[in-house]
Symmetry: C3
Subunit: 235 residues, 3 copies
C-alpha cells in the first residue's frame, strides 16, 4: 500500500509538471509565465521526491519510527514557491514577503526536527513548528489579504477562495503528523503515506490550478490598482 | 555549566524575537519593517539553534572534540541577514552586496570544515576562513563605508559606530575558536560555549538594537542622498 | 595521479580567483564588477572543493564506487552562478531566468542522486538529470538566444560563440559520468578525476574569460537595445 501511494504521487506530480510546464512555455505574458513556472517547479520537486521514495530512498527507521526524512528537504525548497504563488498574485509588499518566507522556512526546518527527534522532544519541535504555522496563518489572513484586496478591489471573492484552500490544506498536514506514528499512532504507515500524498496532490497540483484560475479572474475583472514603487523603501 | 549557557542563549534570543517581532508588526514604514524583520529572523534562527543544543541535539564528538556542528548550519543562514542589515542601512551597490554575501557564505562553510576536520587539517580551513573574514573586513571598512557615507553624508559617526561594533564582535569569534578545543585548548567546553553564547547575544540582539538606532539617527538627520537607479547597470 | 589532478584543480581555481577578484576590485562600472564577481565566486567555490578533495575530504566509497560526493554540493552553488553569467550578459527575462536556474538545480540534485545510488537505480536518476539538462539546452538555444539577440542585434556572433562553448563543455560532464565507474567503467578513478578537473577548469576559468570577452564585444559595438521594464509584469 505504501508503495502504491508513492507511485500515485510520482504519476500525479508528473501530470502537474506536464500541465504547468506546457503553460510556462506557451504563456501569453510574463505574468502568466511566472505563475506557471512557479507551479511547474513545485510539482517537479515533488515528482523527484516521490520518485526517490518509491525507489526506497530518503527513508530511514529513526527512533523506531519509519521516517521519510526526504520530505522535509524537498518541502524546504517547494513550500517557499507556494508562498511566492500567493505573494505574486497579491502583489505583496517586500517586508511581508520576507516575513512569510522566513516563517515558512523556520516551520519546515523545525518540522523536520520534530520528525527525526525522539519522543518527547519531538513534541517540543512540533509545538515550535505549529507556532510558526500560526504566524503564517495570521500574516495571510490579516495583512496579506488587506494588501491583496487593496491592489485588486474587485477580486475579493477570488482571494478569499484561494486563501481558504491554502489554509485548509496546510492545516491538515500537522493533523496527519499528530495522527501518524510521529504522534498518537492512530494511522499506520500506509495511512500516513496516503494522507501526505493526497495532501501533496491537492496542495500542489490542485492549488496550482486554483492559482491560475485566480489570475484569470483578476485579469477578466481588469483589476490592477497601481502598486507602490519599490523606491518608496528608501524614499 | 554548558547547559546553563545554552538556556541563557534560548532565553536571550527569545527576548530578541519578541522585541524585533513586535517592531516588525508595528513598524511605521516599509524601511523600519524591513530592518525589524531582518533582526527578528536573525534571533529566531539563533533561538532555534540554542533550543536544539539545549535539548542535546546538533552535537557530536568529532575527532575527540565535543562539537556543536549545528552552529555552522544556522550561522550559514543567519549571518547573511546580518550583512543585509548593514547593506540595507548603507544602501550598498549590488556588486558589493554580492561580494559581501558570497565571502560570508564561504567564510562560514570553510569555518564549518575547520570545526569537523582532524588536526592539523583543521588549521588549513581555519586559515582559509580567516582569509575570507579579512576580505569582508576590507570590503566593509573601505568600499562599504565610502558608499554609506556618500549616501548619508551627515551620518558618518553613526556608521563608524555600527561598523566598529560589527568588526570587534566578529573578530572575537575566531579568537574563541583558537582558544577552545578546536585550537590551543585553553578554554574548556563550558568556556567555549559561554564565549560563543555571549558573542551571539551581543552580535544578534545587541547589534540589532544598534542597527535600529542607526536608522533612527539617519532619519532624524533626514539624511538620504538619492541612490543611483538599478537601471544604471544596463544603462 | 588522482592527487595530482586535484592539486592542479586547486592551483587553477586559485589563479581564476586572482584574475577575477582583481577585476571585481578594479572594474570600471557596475556591469563589469558584477560579471567579474560572479566568475570570482564560481572559481572560489571550486577552489574550496578541490582543496577539500586534495585533503581527502568529501569522499566516500559508496556502493563499491569511490565517490567524491562533495562535487555535487559545490556544483549546486556554483552552476547557478554560471547560468547568471549567461542571463546577465543576455539580459534575460525573469521567467526564463527562473526556468534556467530551477532546471539547473534539479539537474544537479538528481545528478547527485545518480552518484550515490546503487546500480541500476543510478541510471534512472542519470536519465532524469539528463532530461533536465536537455531542457536547459533547449531554453538556451531557443528562447535565451532569441532574447539575447533581440537586446544585442549587433552581437549575434559573440553570443553564438558563448553558447557553443557552454553547450559543448556541459555536454561532456554526463559523458565522463557514463565512461567512469558510475557508468560503463571505461575510465579508472584517475581518468574520471582528470576528466572532471579539466572540464571544471575549462568551464569555470575558461568560460569566465570568454564571458568577459563577450561583454567587451557588446560594449565595443555599443549594442544595448532598451530592455522591457520589470513593471511590465504587473502592467
Amino acid at each position: 500500500m505504501v508503495q502504491m501511494w508513492l507511485w500515485l504521487g510520482v504519476f500525479s506530480m508528473a501530470i502537474g509538471c506536464l500541465i504547468f510546464g506546457y503553460g510556462a512555455h506557451q504563456g501569453r505574458s510574463d505574468r502568466w509565465k511566472i505563475l506557471y513556472t512557479l507551479n511547474f517547479f513545485i510539482c517537479l520537486i515533488a515528482a523527484g521526491l516521490y520518485l526517490a521514495m518509491a525507489l526506497g530512498q530518503g527513508f530511514s527507521v529513526i527512533h523506531d519510527r519509519p521516517t521519510f526524512w526526504a520530505r522535509y528537504i524537498t518541502w524546504f525548497t517547494s513550500t517557499p514557491l507556494l508562498i511566492l504563488d500567493l505573494t505574486f498574485l497579491g502583489r505583496t509588499s517586500l517586508p511581508l514577503i520576507a516575513g512569510l518566507i522566513g516563517a515558512n522556512q523556520f516551520m519546515i526546518a523545525t518540522g523536520g526536527m520534530s520528525a527525526i527527534s525522539p519522543k518527547p522532544i519531538n513534541y517540543i519541535w512540533y509545538a515550535v513548528s505549529c507556532g510558526a504555522f500560526l504566524s503564517i496563518l495570521f500574516m495571510l489572513v490579516v495583512p496579506y489579504r488587506a494588501e491583496a484586496e487593496a491592489h485588486h478591489p474587485r477580486s475579493r471573492k477570488a482571494f478569499r477562495k484561494l486563501l481558504a484552500a491554502h489554509v485548509i490544506l496546510w492545516t491538515l498536514y500537522p493533523v496527519v503528523w499528530m495522527l501518524a506514528g510521529t504522534g498518537f499512532g492512530v494511522l499506520d504507515q500506509a495511512g500516513e503515506t496516503g494522507g501526505y500524498t493526497l495532501l501533496d496532490i491537492a496542495s500542489k497540483v490542485g492549488f496550482g490550478l486554483l492559482s491560475l484560475n485566480t489570475l484569470q479572474q483578476i485579469e477578466q475583472a481588469n483589476d490592477f490598482q497601481p502598486a507602490p514603487t519599490p523606491a518608496s523603501v528608501h524614499g
